[in-house]
Symmetry: C2
Subunit: 377 residues, 2 copies
Amino acid sequence: MEREDAAIVDARERLFVTYELTGPQDPYQRARQIAVEQTAELPEDCFGPEIDRRVVGRLEDLERLDRHRHRVVVSYPAALAAGELPQLLIVLFGNLSMYGDLAIVDVGWPEELLDDLPGPSLGIEGLRELLPATRDRPLLCSALKPVGLDVEALAELCLRLARGGADLIKDDQGLGNQAWAPFEARVVACADAIERARRETGTHSLYLPHLTGPVETLESRLRLLRELGIAGALVAPFVTGLDAMRSLARESGLLLLAHPAASGWYWHGNPRIAPEVILGDVLRLAGADGVIFPNPGARFPFNERDASTLVDRLRRPGGALRRAFPVPGGGLQLDTLDFWRERYGPDTIFLVGGSLFQQGEVEDATRRLMERLGREK
Amino acid sequence: MEREDAAIVDARERLFVTYELTGPQDPYQRARQIAVEQTAELPEDCFGPEIDRRVVGRLEDLERLDRHRHRVVVSYPAALAAGELPQLLIVLFGNLSMYGDLAIVDVGWPEELLDDLPGPSLGIEGLRELLPATRDRPLLCSALKPVGLDVEALAELCLRLARGGADLIKDDQGLGNQAWAPFEARVVACADAIERARRETGTHSLYLPHLTGPVETLESRLRLLRELGIAGALVAPFVTGLDAMRSLARESGLLLLAHPAASGWYWHGNPRIAPEVILGDVLRLAGADGVIFPNPGARFPFNERDASTLVDRLRRPGGALRRAFPVPGGGLQLDTLDFWRERYGPDTIFLVGGSLFQQGEVEDATRRLMERLGREK
């Protein structure tokens, strides 16, 4: 049970999944039920010892937490996923998600799988190379919002944020291809604003348009990003699909900031997959260079333990797997920034939207905030 | 509040979302919080009346269920989605999924959106045309499993099911591209088995290979299916992405059976989106011709009310939107089949794997089951 603090790579060729089981049912019986459900998915009398040996999960550990709570580790052959992320997810939580009373609290990832899932194309070090002036300070990301603004207003906001020196400026995940601000016109105008700010003030911001499908548009939207020299994008992987993000990371080489929209179903309530697993390890394996999460004490219920563990997971050593930026957001208040900066350290991107806009004129407010974060004057 | 029983099409240009809110907080305040969270996503002092009018959700109805439970209807402009499924999902449940204590219990879909989301490419009527001999009886789908069998064993099982007359034979969702049964070899061998059974016994089964990414493989896998004359596929949309399924339905014209793997996060626990919305309306809008769900009384906890409502939703009138087959499965026991057949009626696909294999020799067992379902002898 030392995996919790170990490196992300588990040297073995098996996937180790730790479950927390609640209820009066015999935990050995339940562990076997899980091990079969996620593999053979047949009554015990419908398969023989060879299938059992080849694919069915194996009970590796069982720990009694209290009378009706057990922690159980079941391992699965990595060969079940055969290097494909969708099959990995099916083994990890496909049918289990339908059981209702179960938590996946940890996963040890086999090296064999990691070879096929290269993860972030840039990671922390790659983004630092794109923005060398950030050196070892935290970064600021702000957002173009609200949805409903037209192209001109969004580009004007982008210009002000860029002139103020925001490191990253992302589209709101609400921005799609709305009639009043179509994708292409918006992206062209915002890229232009970034360039204009660079010429006028010497600031170097990265603009991240929102690139969450539809599938048929991805090729032409990617082409546009390339033509404009845009280096990154915002993706909502729980909307567009984790495998779509993985593929985008691999094919495009863009810096990908993962938005947690539609992820709450996974990590809230029961059944549940621990946020550090689904927003941490899984998003990192699926190619996120940075992972936005709801910071504790802001708009969404997310506790400090979950936040700290998630942050550690994104940045822990992973062999060839690049480290990813934690991106606390979700209504982060500026008056708590020093606390969180101390807590999370420099390899952090603070996502600040509303509470920045509340400080008055955006360019000045951004400049003041960047100075607080330690930007060279 | 008549939407519950009305047709799927809501004539207006707005999306009507019904929430159930639990807790002591003022329901008007919470409704406003939701309406802003899913749209402007900014503090109230950061946007003006024009944004409010253009994009922010509107409270349409509020009903007190008991002291601390309210049913609230908020409407959103369909223009926010701009015809794109990913943006629709972001408006519908992106950030809200992270709130924790909330249920989405119903949605009224605007006609404007339905024009852009054509839904199933075949639907109930289209599948009946592919299998005219099924006329007005329920269909049988069985599964090639367990994962771990090699190509030869899977093809042999496919042959027996096809000779027995199973209408549909799907890959298990666990079948990917495993070394012992690679995708291409498996699909070629199973398609061949189907053809052999047709020649030998005159049975006409449809084979549905599992087509859940990875993204990069889809084109070549689709090409293989086309070359082999395969008319349908199994997809796990909550793994591969709902938009990926929509695109597949549109581009390929394949009959798509949607597997509920990884959907339990949505409809179990709290937060929650009602199964008839997420497995019903949403999967139908996203192009599923049939939706597999865990039948009550089998392996997964799924109640009869949810099952009946889901079945109705898949088959209710929808204007140009084709009706989809409900596919009860998840460990359906053969001794309950008559009950469910009576309950669900003829436009149903019964998914029977394990309990069929438990009846002894598969070909004979399949033949007997098909006779029970009313196949012409």
